[in-house]
């Protein structure tokens, strides 16, 4: 049995040539004997030992900082800020690695809440007045954008380029908002840097949306960048 197009000999019963896809005439109705089984590998949980290492490291750092502060000052003093930062680090960077399939749609809101609480604590501890007018809205908007993007990327089967492009345009708009919050809180000048970032993000976001909308361009990018 040969492929009429490639000229290679094929296994008896092969339905089509594995090289060119040309259907093979099989008058005897033979079926090819498979060289590989049909068994697909199980997806196993590959927990990173680095997570355990980081957890131990975080706990050790917390114990060391507490001990130093208690010995030196008799109370936590600046140690409370370090402890809060370590807790934030644990929630954001270590906790997801302990789960089999960490869902970003669940973890990103948790991270946002943890960040908001940390910033509130920092604001109260340092006697600042920047939480409600700057940190709360900025971190909140970032959390909402991140969660929405993660949900779209996770649950939509298609349209990744459009989602990422859209995210870039929204982030561009957010840059202007960020500078506005900065202006009303810290009395800085408006539009010193945000316009540049917005234009750059708008251009790259629009390009990605175009890639997502035009199939030949999308396939070209996938092929060239081996995605």
């Amino acid at each position: 049995m040969y492929c009429v197009k490639c000229g290679v000999k094929l296994q008896e019963g092969t339905e089509k040539c594995p090289l060119c896809g040309t259907p093979v005439w099989n008058p005897d109705g033979l079926s090819a004997e498979s060289t590989y089984s049909s068994r697909m590998p199980d997806k196993t949980f590959d927990r990173d030992p680095f997570a355990a290492f980081l957890t131990v490291l975080t706990v050790l750092a917390a114990v060391a900082v507490s001990a130093v502060c208690l010995v030196l000052y008799g109370r936590l003093e600046w140690g409370s800020i370090v402890l809060a930062a370590l807790l934030l680090f644990f929630v954001i960077a270590v906790l997801p690695f302990w789960f089999r399939d960490p869902n970003p749609v669940i973890f990103l809101p948790i991270d946002t809440v943890a960040l908001e609480l940390f910033l509130l604590f920092l604001c109260l501890r340092t006697g600042g007045h920047w939480f409600m007018s700057f940190a709360f809205p900025c971190a909140g908007i970032m959390g909402i954008i991140g969660t929405a993007t993660a949900a779209l990327l996770k649950y939509l089967r298609k349209g990744r380029y459009i989602v990422i492009g859209g995210l870039q345009i929204i982030l561009g708009a957010f840059c202007i908002l960020l500078e506005f919050f900065q202006h009303i809180t810290f009395d800085t000048a408006m539009f010193r840097w945000s316009l540049f970032a917005t234009i750059a993000l708008f251009v790259s976001g629009t390009f990605l949306i175009c890639v997502g909308l035009f199939r030949p361009l999308r396939e070209f990018v996938n092929r060239v960048f081996y995605i």
Partner: protein, 436 residues
């Protein structure tokens, strides 16, 4: 010899744990197809029996503070039925159990290795010894043990476990880095599925054809592959903008340095041409590869190459850096230069010899290397009992490269019979067709 508990990674092996990712790592497979169905329980006993003889193979990958290392395992890996495709991703959890897999399917026994453990030559010695032990248990045959099939009753030799890189490093370090090569591209398969096309031909005809064109089998296949990739590039890239086309050829250095190690002792050479310099005929391409091989694959040149790798490994400052930081820089270096200088590997295991009683029971011995991190196709070659097996693997949808390359061989007068894992299981069929 006292019991060995752990091994330092050899110089070549150090890079593989650093560059492994969540869905890719560097694996290779050697397999033997017998003339009868494999009995898994006998195979399991054979795997157990080889444990004391191959201490450097029955290992798990461990992470130290500054380097990875291989630690001996107490219980051997369980043999398992083969999957729908070769070289299924080996995750960190599996590597922490054992870096070696033994698989069976119908008449085939396969061993898959994480590349830090050994190279193709070491792997094929393990496989032949495993098959020898299996057949001894199953049929009671008497084998004349030699360097290709080791006696499982013997103790491991010091020279089999040595790091030949450190031993043979030259005094002067020298490495040539050229322009980045052309990238073969493709739309990556979802998941881990790998397409394998095996072309089988008569080794006598292939050898004669290679000589007719003035090269060895490796140089001939590399020449045909160069011509194929130049052709693909010319259709995709405007004239004058072409990148160099190079084939990565692993060189077994055991012959050059008289080493008998079972661990890694291979270095790769990136050989090819720059298509901007003008068109090349096939004979010119084969001549080019032959001359570059003769020029570069010398003991002195290889010793200088080894010295540059060993020098980095022994540098005090580098040694003092914690492993995770080291891995970040190794990954960056590998993605910038490690894979950027070649378009595809052609790894030729050469003629795989077996003692006579074994030969009567074995139909094929094949060698398969997995796709690289940043390019989708790879090609590996082995010759056994008068047949040459060209295994072409890819993790992308289209079979353009294989079609062009193998059709060229047919046009040159080399008869080929072609098989694929796509006709196997229904799931693999679906995966293949959905991507195309």
């Amino acid at each position: 010899m006292k019991k060995i508990r752990w091994f330092r990674l050899d110089t070549a092996a150090l890079i593989f744990p650093a560059i492994k990712g969540n869905n890719w790592n560097n694996l290779f497979r050697v397999s033997a197809t017998l003339k009868e169905e494999v009995d898994p329980s006998v195979l399991q006993t054979a795997v157990i029996n080889l444990m004391p003889r191959f201490p450097s193979f029955y290992v798990k990958l461990r992470k130290g503070l500054f380097w990875n290392y291989l630690q001996n395992i107490d219980s051997p890996p369980a043999v398992r039925e083969d999957y729908a495709y070769p070289l299924v991703f080996m995750g960190s959890a599996e590597m922490r159990t054992c870096c070696l897999r033994v698989l069976y399917y119908k008449n085939r026994i396969a061993a898959e290795f994480f590349h830090s453990v050994s190279d193709g030559t070491g792997g094929s010695i393990y496989l032949r010894t495993l098959v020898g032990e299996y057949l001894r248990l199953r049929h009671g045959i008497t084998i004349e043990y030699n360097d290709s099939v080791l006696d499982p009753g013997d103790k491991p030799k010091v020279y089999e476990l040595e790091d030949s890189f450190s031993k043979n490093a030259g005094k002067i370090a020298g490495r040539e880095l050229g322009r980045k090569a052309y990238r073969l591209s493709g739309i990556r398969e979802k998941g881990d599925f790998k397409h394998l096309i095996t072309a089988v031909t008569d080794s006598g005809i292939l050898h004669a054809k290679a000589r007719e064109h003035g090269g060895t089998v490796t140089a001939f296949l590399a020449g045909v592959m160069l011509q194929t990739i130049i052709e693909i590039q010319s259709e995709e890239v405007p004239e004058g903008k072409e990148k160099p086309v190079r084939i990565t050829i692993p060189v077994n250095m055991r012959r050059l340095f008289g080493s008998r190690t079972l661990r890694n002792f291979v270095l790769t050479l990136n050989l090819g041409v720059d298509p901007r310099t003008g068109p090349y005929t096939l004979d010119e391409l084969i001549g080019n590869i032959t001359n570059q091989l003769a020029l570069k694959a010398t003991k002195q040149n290889m010793a200088a190459e080894i010295a540059s790798n060993v020098g980095l490994q022994k540098n005090l400052f580098i040694r003092a850096v914690p492993i995770d930081i080291k891995h970040i820089f190794m990954k960056m270096g590998y993605s910038s230069y490690g894979e950027q200088l070649g378009c595809i590997n052609i790894s030729n295991l050469g003629v795989v010899e077996c003692p006579d009683p074994l030969k009567d029971y074995i139909d094929r011995i094949e060698f398969i290397i997995g796709p690289q991190q940043t390019y989708p196709n790879n090609c590996s070659v082995s010759t056994f009992n008068g047949k040459t097996f060209i295994n072409m693997i890819r993790n992308t949808g289209g079979s353009d490269l294989e079609r062009r390359f193998l059709t060229k061989l047919v046009e040159l007068g080399i008869p080929l019979s072609v098989e694929s894992n796509d006709i196997g299981g229904s799931e693999s069929q679906c995966t293949a067709s959905s991507a195309e």
